[in-house]
């Protein structure tokens, strides 16, 4: 069995420009109602990152292993060096180690607790809220000790927790899936999620077909954050990827408005990547390459101002690394969250959201929406909305009410004017 210590010892015996070893020692507990299953998992995953300097530049390699991989640590290090030799590029120097971000990522309630029991308790709590409907869930609770060690002498370790609940709410012969992720049990927000699903299932029973045409849009929380993670806002994470930016295949460049006129609207968009937000799901003290995570502005008042920078990208640009794009903090607006006078489609839930990360083109397939027109409101299901997301969100009015969920902190809903519903 190869341990982290074996790897470090082996690395010290080889002449390598720089190296980092990350170890994730994880425990998981799963309680799955649907399958009457209790699952307990222990796994250790180590990552060795090597930067190898040769006269023509620097090569890098990343090797991922589980704890019991065969072979000796020295052999593994040699393998990483030979891999690094196949990827030599321009020379760059590793930035001096920086202090890890000060951030809390462990739910104190999970520091010592049996994780299968914790998952089962979450599942039990959900079942009890299912009056009038059937609710089945699979709850996963993860606790991990992450250790980072680098050639520079940098050494850090911390505990983190992560929870994920997947549920199916069934009522009146219809069903809705809910997924919630959080670092703390108290942040899961399952009670309101189930209540909202139950209410939406009732509305689905009365929902009619969509009527095509132009309308303003309201994207409410579940539509805004459809899927797992950042929902529609993920388009800005893709645009802030420094590799894509360097290749010139992003929609906009640093220093320019993200869309024509984006800096001249009433409430220009401001987005910050904050990997040091307490208990947010993408927070961590140190990033995947052993670099300290930093909060940085991505968009300020409609203008692109920052990119996610890995160690290598930062060095090539003469900047400090920031750990890449993490949790997104979107500045709220002043919109009151109510429909306007004309036809407005309020989207409650999506069947699917597909986003082209490079063009920002998106298709929103509607699962439940309300057609507000002439003072009346009609639920419907089906239909597609197509948006140039970058442009639409740059101009959108953002609600004053904020929402924190998973890796997102920002307005609970947005208003987009002038979209087309197609059926």
């Amino acid at each position: 069995m190869i341990t982290r210590r074996d790897l470090v010892r082996a690395l010290l015996r080889r002449s390598v420009a720089d190296w980092i070893v990350l170890e994730h020692a994880q425990e998981l507990g799963v309680a799955d109602d649907t399958h009457d299953l209790r699952r307990r998992e222990h796994r250790t995953r180590s990552t060795v990152i090597i930067h190898h300097d040769v006269p023509r530049g620097r090569g890098s390699a990343r090797l991922e292993i589980t704890s019991s991989s065969d072979g000796d640590a020295l052999g593994l290090v040699d393998e990483a060096i030979s891999l690094a030799a196949t990827t030599v590029g321009p020379a760059w120097k590793t930035a001096p180690p920086a202090a890890p971000a000060q951030v809390r990522v462990l739910d104190p309630a999970l520091a010592e607790r049996d994780l299968v029991e914790a998952a089962a308790a979450i599942a039990r709590g959900v079942r009890m809220r299912g009056s009038g409907s059937s609710v089945s869930v699979a709850a996963t609770v993860l606790r991990e000790r992450i250790t980072v060690q680098a050639k520079s002498g940098f050494h850090d370790e911390w505990l983190a927790s992560q929870l994920r609940v997947e549920g199916l709410v069934i009522a009146a012969e219809r069903s809705l899936e809910i997924v919630r992720e959080a670092r703390r049990i108290s942040d899961l927000g399952l009670a309101p999620a189930i209540a909202a699903a139950q209410a939406d299932l009732e509305q689905l029973g009365e929902a009619g077909p969509p009527i095509a045409g132009r309308a303003d849009l309201i994207l409410s929380a579940d539509a805004l954050l459809h899927g797992e993670g950042l929902g529609v806002w993920s388009v800005f994470a893709a645009q802030a990827e420094s590799i894509a930016e360097r290749q010139g295949i992003t929609r906009y460049r640093v220093g320019t408005p993200i869309a024509p006129g984006a800096n001249q609207v009433d409430e220009p968009l401001t987005i910050t990547s904050d990997g040091a937000l307490d208990f947010a799901t993408r927070s961590n003290p140190v990033g995947d390459d052993g670099d300290a995570i930093r909060r940085f502005p991505m968009i300020e008042r409609g203008v692109s101002v920052g990119l996610g920078l890995s160690v290598r990208e930062a060095a090539l640009r003469g900047r400090d690394p920031n750990g890449g794009v993490r949790n997104l903090v979107i500045a709220p607006g002043t919109w009151h969250g109510k429909p306007g006078a004309g036809r407005t489609i309020e989207i409650r839930r999506l069947h699917a959201l597909s986003i082209d990360p490079y063009t920002g083109d998106a298709s929103l397939e509607l699962a439940l929406a309300y057609d507000h027109r002439d003072g009346r409101s009609r639920p419907f299901t089906g239909g597609t909305i197509r948006l140039d997301l970058v442009s639409a969100l740059a101009r959108a009015r953002r609600s004053a009410t904020t929402l924190q969920r998973g890796a997102y902190l920002g307005p609970a809903s947005v208003w987009i004017d002038g979209a087309t519903l197609v059926v």
Binding site: T34, L37, R39, T86, S310
Partner: protein, 485 residues
């Protein structure tokens, strides 16, 4: 939503470091120091001994016991316009599954596939008791043949061959090739069986992108199989065709959105079949009442030309296996026969007949397709089309629950008239409609087929599957995907 191809991020990840790093292949020379890759494990007999011992101890306390172990190694080599590299990952794991007398399933999972690791996992389920049930496991199964070894340089050579044979046009702004090998040794041991399989899944993939006006056009091609690295190649014609498709100029103007006769190429047919199987044809999906009520055995759900079988026994199929992750030997399951719904894919643990698969062989059990085969017809695909549109190269396919709406994205639509292509080509279109209507309108199925493969992740572990599909003629609403507010 279905992702049908490796993402660019996945390609870049193959370049050696992290998800967002492109490393330059500086001098274009072969790496100077390379080592041959080692086999997954040379200790199959040892692992078997530990697992048999574990099963014998667990069988004392539990009426149902299964041990599944895997040693897996992934090698990804990629080359793009900026550089090349190789990435490696090794995973090992053990899943001990027991069912107690109250009917509760328990799984103990560890990444430590050593004697001590197996012992610790057993102790977590039975404590320190060393009692063993007497089980006759029989002689060990024959060791599956190991694939030929290869060196990193061979991967680089193959990537360069793919790239060099295709003289890139200056309008191509992004070009990449990837070879991906997943080499897994899997052991399944229970009181009633002792099985072992070696699955080496190989994918060779190219991607080309060019600007067409203000928008990028991406074209991809792929071959995938179970077997040796050199069993198949991405032939030159296919790679060149991929470049030509990326460069193809689209017909200006608007394609009127209306009902049309369409011919789906095998990639679109496969994308549709895959989305249907995963969204509707598993016990996980039929728990949803809106899906379950639409699927009553014997109901006509498609045209009589449609017969769909999930068949993991097809030799060399990318999604195939010898036994599934519950240890059941591979057998075909007919899902739709002559248009009538027959069965769903189900896992034993969920009360079904068996098709339980675990992401990466150690993830949570789920019913999932392996190698889907849509039965071919008797007409060559060139003879299927007379008037209408030929839709090519799958994008995203969305199947909504309840056999209702389906949206099939395609990279392009070619206009057909009098059985010939008119030369008009529309980029980024989608076929939209009611799923049952669309399947019911299938009026032609080609005799020739192609295979598409899929590799996606769940909780960071891979799921492998493939679809063998013909060209299919049907009708539906076709419209451009682009046209934004």
């Amino acid at each position: 939503m279905t992702r049908t191809r490796p993402s660019r991020r996945e390609l870049l990840a193959g370049l050696g470091i992290g998800s967002a790093s492109t490393l330059l292949w500086a001098c274009g020379s072969r790496p100077s120091a390379v080592r041959s890759t080692r086999g997954v494990t040379s200790t199959s007999g040892e692992v078997r001994t530990w697992l048999r011992d574990a099963v014998a101890r667990l069988a004392v306390a539990y009426p149902s016991v299964h041990a599944l172990a895997v040693a897996r190694r992934r090698t990804t080599a990629a080359i793009d316009v900026l550089g090349a590299g190789v990435a490696r990952a090794r995973r090992e794991g053990l899943v001990l599954t027991v069912r107690d007398r109250e009917g509760l399933w328990r799984e103990q999972v560890t990444s430590d596939l050593s004697q001590a690791g197996v012992l610790a996992a057993v102790r977590a389920l039975v404590g320190t008791s060393t009692r063993k049930a007497t089980i006759d496991f029989g002689p060990p199964p024959a060791q599956p043949p190991a694939p030929p070894r290869f060196a990193d340089a061979e991967l680089h050579d193959q990537l360069e061959t793919i790239t060099e044979r295709d003289k890139l046009d200056s309008r191509i702004v992004y070009a990449a090739a990837m070879i991906d090998l997943d080499d897994a040794n899997v052991w399944s041991i229970a009181p009633t069986h002792d099985r072992e399989q070696r699955l080496v899944r190989v994918r060779k993939h190219v991607v080309r992108a060019a600007w067409n006006g203000t928008r990028p056009v991406v074209s991809e091609a792929e071959r995938s199989w179970i077997g040796g690295l050199d069993d198949h190649a991405l032939d030159v014609a296919l790679v060149r065709r991929t470049s030509q498709r990326a460069l193809e100029l689209m017909t200006p103007g608007v394609l009127e959105a209306r009902e049309r006769t369409v011919i789906l190429d095998p990639s679109l047919t496969a994308s549709l079949v895959d989305a249907i199987a995963r969204a509707l044809l598993t016990t996980a999906s039929t728990r949803r009442p809106d899906v379950g009520r639409a699927l009553v055995a014997g109901t006509q759900v498609a045209a009589p030309l449609v017969t769909l079988v999930d068949d993991p026994t097809v030799p060399t199929a990318y999604g195939g296996f010898v036994f599934d992750d519950e240890g059941d030997p591979a057998t075909p399951v007919t899902l739709v026969s002559a248009g009538r719904f027959m069965a769903v894919l189900s896992e034993h643990a969920g009360g079904g007949r068996g098709r339980g698969r675990r992401p990466g062989h150690t993830g949570r059990l789920e019913p999932a397709p392996s190698h889907l085969r849509l039965a071919p017809g008797t007409t060559a695909h060139a003879a299927l089309g007379d008037e209408g549109l030929l839709l090519e190269e799958a994008r995203t396919t969305i199947v909504e629950p309840g056999m209702s709406r389906v949206i099939i994205g395609a990279a392009r639509a070619r206009e057909l008239r009098g059985g010939q292509q008119t030369g008009r080509v529309y980029g980024e279109v989608e076929l939209v409609g009611d799923l049952r209507t669309l399947l019911g309108a299938i009026s032609g199925v080609s005799s020739d087929t192609n295979v598409s493969s899929y590799r996606d992740d769940r909780d960071g572990e891979p799921r492998w599957r493939s679809v063998e599909a013909p060209w299919v003629r049907t009708t539906g609403l076709v419209r451009l995907r682009r046209g934004f507010a």
